[in-house]
Symmetry: C2
Subunit: 323 residues, 2 copies
Amino acid sequence: MRCLVTGGAGFIGSSLVDRLLAQGEEVVCFDNFDTGLIRFLSEAQENKRFTLVKGDTLDVAALKSAMKGCDIVFHLAANADVRFGSQHPRKDLEQNTIATHNVLSCMKDTGVRKIAFSSTGSVYGEATVIPTPEDAPFPVQTSLYGASKLACEGLIAAFCEAYDFQSWIFRFVSILGERYTHGHVFDFYRQLSADSGTLAVLGDGTQKKSYLYVQDCIDAILLAIRNARGKVSIFNLGTDEYVEVKDSIRVITEELGVKPALSFTGGSRGWIGDNPFILLACSRIRALGWTPKASIREGIVRTVRFLKANDWVFAARETPAWS
Amino acid sequence: MRCLVTGGAGFIGSSLVDRLLAQGEEVVCFDNFDTGLIRFLSEAQENKRFTLVKGDTLDVAALKSAMKGCDIVFHLAANADVRFGSQHPRKDLEQNTIATHNVLSCMKDTGVRKIAFSSTGSVYGEATVIPTPEDAPFPVQTSLYGASKLACEGLIAAFCEAYDFQSWIFRFVSILGERYTHGHVFDFYRQLSADSGTLAVLGDGTQKKSYLYVQDCIDAILLAIRNARGKVSIFNLGTDEYVEVKDSIRVITEELGVKPALSFTGGSRGWIGDNPFILLACSRIRALGWTPKASIREGIVRTVRFLKANDWVFAARETPAWS
């Protein structure tokens, strides 16, 4: 199987690339290296079944060229910055919605008929049913990020209907683990590296969040594309647990052996559009035989250990990623 | 109140323009005249409170200029061609999703904080609950048109959250009445004008459809913006009735006094992505005191009578609309 992985130099993308190569697939990685890191692909680049293309999903010609001859697209490229959406509202539209339209349009033109897509639990907005199942009541969006991913899901389903594609849509909770380079554990780690005595926390620390370990996430994706046969298969991906931000801080500080004074900005939301509570009902993917192997605590610990052992990612996130 | 009506030269848009002027508002009509017709605005153009701007919602500068000083935007401009979405998939993206992003972005820049939006019952895809309420199970999209309107709804809600806008989102069934210039009654009328002896019908004629008379639709919109106070208020707009395409044909042919032989293309769908059954639960808007005054039958009869008395619309739909 020849696979195109958009965003293949990113946290989840590069982890997927390695797993696909390990199971014997051919992999084309397509990434604009805005946030992707070339070092995540160092092992992949030694594999003859791996091809690297530097390109942007807004560049239709480059995308189409990379896609030719592929059997499936894993479309992970995105502006994943849920928090700062209100500061640059057009970025989600371009990098998520229009980019996904381009991917689908190129699939139509090149005859690729299968797409796996990384959506988000944020599409549920402030869910009225918790844990939230895939067929929860029609949600009202609360973030530009969630809205853009919802738009992508709609496009994918409509293209499936119009052009007989098959799709797998995965609504993730936040993902943790090796190669994690943005989000709260990253921010807290960076703050504590600079000054282990204090930690500034957005919100009041009681926001409840659900996390999933990256390899468990990839297990689920690979299992679903093998076994879910529908035209449009939608799966929540998360654990049955949740933690409060405060709990997460406890795990991080214990792992680092520091005892910072915490200062909270207050309020039940970390930022505008933040969801105070995300917990997804994952019985659909569990019915296929999937079970997460790592607890949230283990996911956080592995993330902290990765960051400890890979100081370079902090510098890499400050400088052009391709360099 | 100064109102911007995008798509204000269209069927529903121009009807809204006239009603807003009649209730004493100032109205700026913004239309690219792709499908809008200048003759629909002949009465409006005699009113001092009316301003006409020829512009496209993809032209941000023109849009922003037209929006300045307005209190509310009625965003009706759209590619309303649900049927041929699969033949030009980018049109829905541009004219609906990107255009709506532009409208919201210009509102942010000009300080306009209220938006009323024409969405569609097509966002429910193939609804699992019928009649379908606004909080029906999270739908899977089946048409590029529905997907694009879903994307618009998501953007509107997210902008409301991020920038403290207020919005009213209306999910319409198909609208009928004076100035109706596309859709099945139009197509059937045109066929029967050319040859009253035969009528070709997409599907098997048993597709169930719900329709609403245009003035009832506008009553609901004006009532909702006066009385619904939430940040994001979503309303289905339809009647409690439905008809099969066959029933609709009977009303049209009786009104025209013709007895054509019917030929059906067959199948339960008129086209790819067509919904075999749309019926919306409208208790939310009814709870505000709204009741449709015209039955579906009356809506069809009024449409046929409008077409009979306005032969010019058939020619106008074939030639550049601005001319």
